[in-house]
């Protein structure tokens, strides 16, 4: 199929066709600025269809076909390859248990839940490890390092602000009813006030994130307009 495509595209035909197609699709998407028309929905359908076709082809070609070919090879070389056969068969059976969920009669059987249970188990373990080693430990370390003595001017104030803001933003998500003892009420007042201050830091973070998002999206918009005016129309 690729050779057929290459022979069809010889002489730069596909490059020119690609520019015209890309320009047409860009205009279809931008019609939404006028109103939600069928042209925009055509563009949405094309995006979804392309993504489905691409992902399914890659998954089948690069993951599922190799494992199925391996299984066939294991079966043909039995009894020497029984261990490899078992090791290759287990994930396929777990995968098949997931596909059984498509059938209305067997979707709630014990077997059909095994693949999902496996994915949840492995996903939870990887998520815990990632959260501990990738977020919690490095962020706590960086926050504590902000308190180390600074050599330059007001850097110590920035370090203090980071620590106060980090703890405040963390406390902003504390929703615990206060106890009745005086120290519990005092503790509640302190954490609530600190949390309110932390909400301010969170809003600054959201503002900065939004500004970065706008900058990135404006870059995408400029890129698409440049493509239309330069690559397609050749005006600039």
């Amino acid at each position: 199929m690729d050779a057929l495509f290459n022979s069809f595209c010889s002489g730069g035909l596909c490059d020119a066709l690609g520019v015209w197609l890309a320009a047409l699709l860009t205009i279809l998407v931008f019609t939404y600025l006028v109103r939600d028309t069928f042209l925009f929905r055509i563009a949405s359908a094309l995006l979804v269809g392309t993504a489905i076709g691409f992902v399914s082809a890659i998954v089948i070609r690069d993951i599922l076909l190799p494992i199925l070919l391996q299984l066939i090879e294991n079966i043909l070389t039995l009894p020497d390859s029984w261990l490899a056969l078992v090791l290759n068969l287990i994930p396929v059976l777990l995968g098949v248990s997931l596909l059984i969920k498509l059938t209305p009669n067997f979707r709630n059987t014990t077997f059909s839940n095994l693949g999902l249970a496996y994915l949840f188990g492995i996903g939870a373990a990887l998520a815990i490890g990632g959260a501990l080693a990738g977020a919690l430990a490095p962020q706590l370390t960086a926050t504590m390092l902000a308190l180390t003595p600074q050599s330059e001017g007001f850097d110590w104030l920035n370090g203090l602000l980071i620590v106060v803001g980090t703890l405040g933003a963390f406390l902003a998500f504390r929703f615990i009813q206060p106890g009745k003892l005086p120290w519990q009420r005092a503790y509640d007042i302190v954490t609530k006030s600190w949390g309110t201050l932390g909400r301010g830091f969170i809003m600054v973070a959201f503002g900065a994130l939004l500004a970065s998002l706008i900058t990135a999206r404006v870059s995408a918009l400029v890129g698409q307009l440049y493509f239309l005016l330069h690559d397609w129309l050749g005006l600039i």
Binding site: C14, T26, V48, I52, T166, A220
Partner: protein, 214 residues
Amino acid sequence: MQPRINLGVLLRRQLVPVAVAMGVGLVVLLGQFSTNEGLSGIVALLIAWGAIVAAFALLLGLANLLLFHTRRIVKRDAQTPFSILILATALIVFLLVLPAGGSGSAAQWILRSVYQPLEASFLALLVFFIGTAMYRALRVRTWEMALFALAAFVVLVGSAPFLQVLSPLIPAARDWVVNVPALAGVRGILLGVALGIIATGLRLLTGIDRPYSE
């Protein structure tokens, strides 16, 4: 009369998936904090199996999507033409990409001429929606929204190259906002998210939450 509960069936339905999730999860979790070579090998094998099962899960999602659009075509409602377009595009792209994979010339042409322009245009379209959302947010007059707007303004102005040349204070203010208060806010959120992930993960691994057998 109360319905009779078959304890054996209930135990099998609940216990076997929980045992699989707990067993696999605890071994993988242990393997992440251990330097034992044997355990690392087992964890690598379990994760490789996970990739294969995840591929099947993706296939399940794709099959579900195809079934949904096929049903819509059979029902012949107002969305039928778009469902036909989705299925036809998916089939054409699938047939073009399958023989040579993602690095083939057909796949690259589809990425360059169809997927990339569509994705970039959709992202570019978001500028207008973000602008509208920001305008609506600014109508809420609270001190939090004032801080939000001020931070967004400083970072936006500080990111514009033609405004940066006016004064060195503009990029400096942007850098300070990004590196001090915004960093503190994001760090606090990240700490909360990490603790939330750990708590949810532990609930799954201890069998308190069993979303796979409900």
